[in-house]
């Protein structure tokens, strides 16, 4: 079972990258390519959501690819949020402490609440500035 990638939905402010299958030494190149294309279209300060609900397996090569993508987003002042990692993936993440816990969400609802909170925060800051 190889890796399937899908971007749904896409917007320069906030895109969701949907991963399915295995992200390993064999398939990480494919992910790198797709991610690079997507990142170029993202705005500065945008948010990338990686939906891991269908990712069965990840190895150290996959970890490195995700880290690379997050680095790139950080360079654009953006955020990378991970949602719904499966057991194996979660375990691997835990072992190597790959991602700050606050950037991992158990499901889409948690993610939405988080994003709403950020949004409000930004809006409030805007009002205060005005």
């Amino acid at each position: 079972m190889a890796l399937n990638l899908r971007i749904d939905p896409f917007s320069p402010r906030r895109s969701t990258f949907y991963l399915e299958g295995r992200l390993d030494a064999m398939s990480f190149g494919q992910f790198d390519q797709e991610a690079e294309k997507l990142l170029q279209q993202m705005d500065v300060g945008s948010t990338l959501v990686l939906d891991l609900s269908a990712l069965d397996y990840i190895s150290s090569a996959g970890l490195r690819s995700i880290a690379k993508a997050r680095k790139a987003m950080r360079a654009r002042d953006g955020h990378t949020l991970l949602v719904n990692p499966q057991a194996q993936v979660r375990k691997v993440f835990d072992i190597v402490k790959a991602v700050p816990v606050k950037e991992i969400f158990q499901n889409l609802r948690e993610l939405d609440e988080y994003l709403d909170r950020i949004q409000r925060k930004i809006a409030n800051e805007g009002e205060e500035l005005e």
Partner: protein
Amino acid sequence: MPLRSLAWRLAVWVLAGATLVFVASGYLLFRMVGQQVLQQAQRESGAWASQGSSLVQERLDNITNTARVLASIIGPRPLDAKPLIHDAMAGNPDLAGLAAAFVPGRPAAREAGQSPFVGRQSDGSLAMRDLAKDAQPYWNTAWFQRGLACSQGCWHEVFRSQSRHRLLVSYSSSMQADGAAIGVVNADVTLDWLQGILQSMQLPAGAHAFVIDQQGMYLANDTMERVGKKADNTLLDLLNAPSLKGHANAHELDQQGAHVWIYDEPINGTQWKLAVAVPEELIYAQVRDAFVAVLVLGALTLLILGLIVMVTIRRTLAPLGVLAERAEQVSRGALDFALPRVRRHDEIGRLTHAFDKMRRELAAHLEELTRFAREQARLASELDIAQQIQTALLPGPHYLDARCHNFELYAALKPARSVGGDLYSYFMLPSQRFCFMVGDVADKGIPAALFMARTITLAKAMASHAQSPQQLLQLINQELCRNNDNCMFVTLLCGFLDVVTGHMTLASAGHDPPVLWGNHAPTWLPVTSGPALGLDEDAAFPVLRTRLRPGDTLLVYTDGVTEAANEALEHYGGERLLARLGQFQQSGDPTQFLAEDVESYAAGYGQSDDIALLALRWNHVGLEDETSMLDLAFPATLEKVFDALDHCEKRLHDAGIRSGLRDDVRLVLEELMVNMVHHGCSGNPAGCIGLRMMILEEAVLVELNHEGAPFDPLQFGAPALTGDLADRNDDGGLGLHLVRAMSSELNYTHDEYGNHLQLRFANPTEHGHGT
């Protein structure tokens, strides 16, 4: 026990010898002296007779001379007769009476006018009378008639004087005038006087003297009553008989049972005889006295000798008695006592000195012996404890692979002494490996046992660090080489058995090759041996890899088996070992069978070397489900690696392994194999990576072999984890960190075949069990 003492016996023998010599010499002396004494006594007795005779004769001569002189004087002058006689009587006290009797009628008689007689009264006064006036005319008496005839004088017979009431004897001598006898001078002496002479002889008591006249009348006798009486005829006959031979005047008279010797001697001038009667016992009395004297003296001497001997011997031998008593004490074990003081340095003094020295040395020796015995006992008990400890070092003699009954192990150890240098050991290692070993320390006894203990402990401690027997041997070797100045060494055969597959790796350090049989006749496994452990620090040990087939039995033994000797000093030998194993039934304990066979073979000579035996029988049950096994070899490319990963995944899935574990296995294998791909291949490219996987009930075992440069995935520490991989500048070490985290066990070894990784993944059951 005084009668048994040496002193007593010595005294008795000395006294007995002295008594014998004394008696013998006394007897001889007595024989010689006794004869002389007897002769002397007889001579003396004879002398008494002649002495007495002479004495009597002398006194009588006095009488006769007086009478004769008077006769010759009175003859011519008869007138003077009276005063002459009176004067003569007064001047000679021996005389009892004196008379001058004239023949009547003759001129002389007339001239004289009387025949005077002077008699001595009993009060000693002299009384004179005229014989011519006696009532009885004297000229008719016998004495007068005979006196006239005796011009030369003669003695008359005994008569009793009526006037004086005494026995008298008289001597007469005739007076001559003109050639004719004119009268007689008669002198009387009393027999009492004669008796007095005899008594003046002072004869010894018992002897008595007597004078006998020609008629056999006693004139004098020590026995007064007999005086004047006639002697008995026996005596007279004896005296008239010729005297005894050798004794001039001796006669032997047997008188009423008493022997009396009589010595007689004639008295000159008379016809009388003087005899001395000496009882024989008086004669022998001297001899007897001498005998008694000798006897008494001898007895006294013996007594004194005895006393001196006793005292001397007792004094001299007293220390000997004490020594004997002390020697008995020594035999009872007492050594502390006082010894007699040494007075002189004679044999007993030397003996005492030697005894004292012996006693002291014995005491010292005993003390040393006691100490030695205590030491021995302590050593023996220590040896006992050592044996228990050594036995405790060994695992049991029978081991059955309890989980899957794949193999069964028998072992036996028989030290030649209490403790020995042979060893066997076995234990489970991680990753379903079973380690077994048999070794033989050079030398025997306690040093060997200590070295054996060191070896067996080291082996156990090192085994978890070793991935192969050769590596274990190397590790033990390096440890044993350290400070091994005595150059002790141990031969060791070590094997690792994969308890699931029956794959076995053997390495030998100077040990005899093991025997394998079961599916074929017993044969030696050609294990190439390295040097014995403890000698060469850099030694390497080749390995032999083989796979046991069901029914195979592997026997590892020490040279105590093959070098056991019988009475003829012939060794048991390897050929006999193979032959015996060929006869052995498959079931049962081959080590016991072999040990008993060796023992009966060497019964005549005895066990001279330690014996260790270890037999491993491969049953191979419980496995052989081919689906649970995977054995792959492929080139080092990513595609092949992922093909293999898929293979594994499918096999794990088929085996019903849950997905979490499947993913763990996949992740670990991917990380490791991708690493191997990156490190490249140095050997056969087609089979660069070898993967063998076994799926057991409670675990998944994987062995990865990589023919490449040495690379130990365990050498790296845990990477620095910040909590965000995106913060890291380097991205190395993550994979190996995952490998370590995911696998339950991970072992790495490297040998000439490359890198070997052994992995184990625990598969917890639903009940939560598993390792």
